[in-house]
Amino acid sequence: MRLLLFISLLSSTLSCSRPTESSAPPAQQQEARAADPPAVGRFVTMEDPIVKEYIVADVVPAPPGSVWRWTLRNPTFRFRMKQVENLRFHADFTVQPTALKATGPVTISWVINDHLLAKETHSAEGFKKIEKPVPAEWLRSDVENIVSAEIDKLYTTPDGDKFGFIISNIGFID
């Protein structure tokens, strides 16, 4: 009982009866010094409201805000960037299970301004990522850079539609 009394006394001593304390204004932050990224740049996610600006060919339209899109055989995108050094190409995509069952292993080639960056065969379904450094000489800061992927086999749905793979985002990162 005394222990309980002690604990309750300790509690009441430490609890909210303490007065509100005060502080002084801190050092003032300077005005924001940085820029925001340009609207059309070097990377795009499929839910980006201006994703259409990046798509050149072979990406199936989807409702605005969709986080992924089906590709056809040769999905192609354009990108702009101010600096071309030390960039890595990055894309998140999915090899769809039903499609993979129908086609068997698929090979996807990734091409940047006509340079083959990678050619990978996927025999397992699921989320995939490609991330590789890009030689600066492959890229241009003054004009659009064209990135395309090519899948060797297309999946044909029961309705006769043909699809490649599912893309979520693509572009260049530091």
């Binding site: 009982m1 005394r2 430490l14 509100t20 003032q28 010094r33 925001d36 990224p37 990162i173």
Partner: protein, 745 residues
């Protein structure tokens, strides 16, 4: 193989030390026990005292491998000199043969499964994040240093204290094995209880139900504390029953130690002490004997083990019961808002269908983190034994220790009450010949890893196989850890490349036990939540201070100005990015002589006066009338306008502005502000990074499931971040706060 020997050495040394201490206590106080009971109760008592000793070493920053080993050797030597390793007392009558065979075979088969998994590299989610993360940190820092970035550091941590010696010798797996000790002790004590009370079948069945239960198994072999807590609670019950029979005074000392130890292991075991006290008082009162002194003795001894944790929290975070009761003990380290949502989450796990709970905890297991086994569905039948005198204390204890469960409905939070339910059920059915043994064997068969997928959900937390090669370190640790822990690769990379004194911010727990730099996980502290708030102020439009709330009023000479909340909206926080005061359309420059006050959360009030769009003061509580922010000027100021820069995730208006003159006369200035909206400012990302850096964040870890992942990946340079490494979907950035030339405006 060398590492395997260190693991075994660390584990066995700690068990030997706890056994030695316990035996010294039992001998010193002449506690009369059966020979079979002695080692189990000795280890529990010894663990209580050893955890306290290690706490004191940690508080004195004396945690060094040499100190721990020297102390352990001294204790072992003393116990050996006093011949305390010898078991004394009578033996129980022998077990019936069929139970002997069943218990031995189940013990051997599941024992192999458990020992191999405990010895294998530690992979449990909470073990590799905070249980061993904190243990490793205490070891590195030679004891306690204030940790304000991890609420788990504020929980009672007797188990972490028990981990320190095995960790010092055999690292993570040795610590996990220390917890496994209790996985053996608990069923052993249950069996002893059955034997002592003449309910052998009930005891044997209950022991097997507990020992083989999938969630108890995986929890017990992990660096957790649930099975140890259940063991301490059961020991309290055991000693209470012994005391009721024997009325030995020395048992009160053991009871106090064990009840205190239970709380020191886990807050949820807080009922162990009142249970012991109420039973003692009730018994003595009924016998018309003095009850105050015995009860005080138990409480005083228990408090020796309980109070250090409360005092540590009071000193470190200003709340003895942190991370709970923050509304009674308001502090800067855990937000009341967080506590409320944490409790709601723990009480629901996002699963509102409570009628499915019995199936979920016994045979589903995926959503609530493990399953007890389908046989546990039968256990509530034990309630039918209420008329049985022997079953009554068990049923009472079962109900009592189930009481905290609704606060956290994870399956493992049923473990403390499970032994009582199992014994009550055993008592009910033991009169039916062969039924207990049949149920025991069926439960064991259903609990074996190969059987579980036949009835459970797919991704249930459970053991899968016997990993001998990894247990003996014939195969490399990295291989096993990399396959089982998603964040292991990034954790190892962090350990290799980031200096130990740097702080990494992450949104989720990662394998903190495998690296040295400090980790601040977003949800684990008020500090982390402030960082999340800063980061999300860029990412989430509703968090951006694009709202303007303007109060205009006839010019006044004021000494003090106060903005008071008038709304009562418990599900909405009150926040503001800036509080600007004007005279003749010019903002008053903020002076270091101003005194800023706020209620609640005065600690963060400066965030509304720092001119940064990325930071905001927040009440971190639901809005209620009377909350305020106040500015006290050193001298009279002419004021005619106050403008708030606010985010739009809150109901506008509903505030009142008041002022005081130099004589203390109060004036209501305005309660009808005008609302407007502006575009978000530019260059915000960099402001957020600066705000994070000012708060001590050096590195930023993000993964694809975190909000803002894409933006950071895409625009790292606009954030002032430099990519350090990528492992899977984890991306680690260094905060530089510098903008490259090509990104400048």
């Amino acid at each position: 193989m060398g590492q395997a020997l260190y693991i075994l050495l660390g584990f066995s040394a700690t068990v030997a030390v706890t056994f030695g201490i316990g035996q010294i206590i039992l001998a010193r106080f002449k506690v009369e026990l059966f020979r079979q009971e002695q080692p189990a109760i000795a280890i529990v008592l010894g663990s209580a005292i050893w955890s306290f000793v290690v706490f004191m070493l940690a508080a004195s920053r004396l945690i060094h491998k040499g100190v721990l080993i020297a102390l352990a050797v001294a204790i072992l030597y003393f116990a050996w000199k006093k011949q305390c390793f010898r078991l004394s007392g009578e033996s129980f009558p022998p077990l019936p043969k069929h139970w002997k065979y069943v218990l031995c075979s189940v013990g051997v088969v599941f024992g192999v499964l458990y020992v191999s998994n405990a010895m294998a590299p530690e992979i449990s989610p909470d073990g590799v994040s905070y249980h061993l993360g904190l243990t490793a940190r205490y070891y590195r820092e030679h004891g306690f240093r204030p940790i304000i970035t991890n609420m788990y550091a504020n929980l009672s941590q007797a188990m972490e204290m028990l981990f320190l010696l095995p960790f010092a010798i055999g690292r993570h797996s040795a610590a996990a094995m220390m917890h496994m000790t209790f996985l053996w002790l608990l069923p052993w004590l249950i069996l002893c209880y059955g034997r002592r009370t003449g309910a052998i079948s009930a005891g044997a069945l209950a022991a097997i139900l507990i020992f083989c239960s999938p969630v108890i198994g995986i929890d017990g072999i992990s660096a957790y504390n649930d099975v140890a807590t259940a063991t301490a609670i059961f020991t309290v019950f055991y000693l209470v029953q012994l005391w009721k029979q024997q009325r030995q005074d020395s048992l009160l000392i053991c009871l106090g130690l064990t009840a205190g130890f239970a709380f020191a292991l886990k807050y949820t075991a807080f009922l162990a002490l009142p249970y012991a006290l109420v039973t003692i008082i009730k018994e003595l009162h009924r016998d018309k004997k003095p009850w105050l002194t015995p009860a005080l003795k138990v409480a005083a001894i228990a408090s020796v083990l309980i109070l250090p944790w409360l005092i540590k929290n009071t000193v470190t975070v200003g709340n003895p019961f942190s991370p709970f009761l923050n509304s009674i003990f308001p502090n800067h380290f855990i937000h009341i808002w967080f506590e409320k949502s944490y409790k709601m989450n723990m009480a629901s796990y996002g699963s509102p269908d409570f009628w499915r709970l019995p199936l979920e905890v016994t045979s589903g297991g995926q959503r609530l983190g493990g399953l007890l086994g389908p046989m546990f569905l039968l256990l509530p039948l034990g309630l039918l034994g209420l008329r049985n005198r022997a079953a009554r204390p068990l049923i009472l204890a079962a109900l009592l220790f189930t009481l905290p469960y609704p606060a956290n409905i994870g399956t493992r939070f049923l473990i403390p009450a499970a032994p009582f339910w199992a014994l009550s059920f055993g008592l009910l059915i033991e009169i039916v010949p062969y039924l207990p043994v049949t149920i025991a064997l069926l439960h064991a068969a259903l609990s074996w890893p190969d059987s579980i997928p036949l009835y459970s959900e797919r991704y249930v937390w459970r053991l899968h196989r016997i990993p001998w090669h990894h247990a003996l370190r014939i195969k490399p640790e990295d291989d096993y850890l990399g396959r089982h822990i998603g964040s292991y690769a990034i954790s190892r990379e962090i350990d290799k490349i980031i200096p130990a004194d740097k702080t990494i911010f992450a949104f989720d727990q990662i394998a903190e036990a495998y690296f040295k730099p400090k980790l601040a996980v977003g949800f684990q502290s008020a500090y982390g939540e402030r960082i999340i708030d800063i980061f999300h102020s860029v990412q989430i439009p509703a968090y951006q201070p694009t709202g303007r709330t303007t109060f205009r009023f006839p010019a006044q000479q004021l000494k003090r100005i106060r903005l008071t909340q008038t709304a009562d909206l418990p599900n909405e926080k009150w926040s503001m990015a800036e509080f600007r005061i004007f005279s003749k359309e010019r903002e008053l420059p903020r002076s270091a002589q101003w005194r800023l006050r706020a209620s609640p959360n005065w600690w963060d009030v400066a965030m509304a006066f720092d001119n940064s769009p990325a930071t905001r003061w927040s009440s971190w509580e639901g809005k209620r009338p009377g909350m305020f922010i106040e500015v006290d000027f050193p001298e009279l100021q002419r004021v005619d306008k106050v403008m708030l820069e606010v985010s739009r995730d809150q109901t506008p208006g509903l505030m009142m502005l008041e002022g005081w003159d130099q004589y203390g006369n109060k004036y209501q200035l305005s309660n009808s502000p005008k609302e407007s909206v502006i575009d978000p400012p530019e260059g915000w990302r960099m402001s957020a990074t600066h705000a994070m850096m000012e708060r001590g964040v050096d590195y930023f870890l993000i993964t694809n499931t975190n909000h803002g992942y894409m933006d950071v990946m895409k625009n790292a340079k606009y954030w002032g971040m430099e990519l350090v490494t990528v492992k899977g979907y984890y991306r680690l950035y260094k905060l530089t706060g510098k903008l490259p030339e090509d990104a400048k405006r």
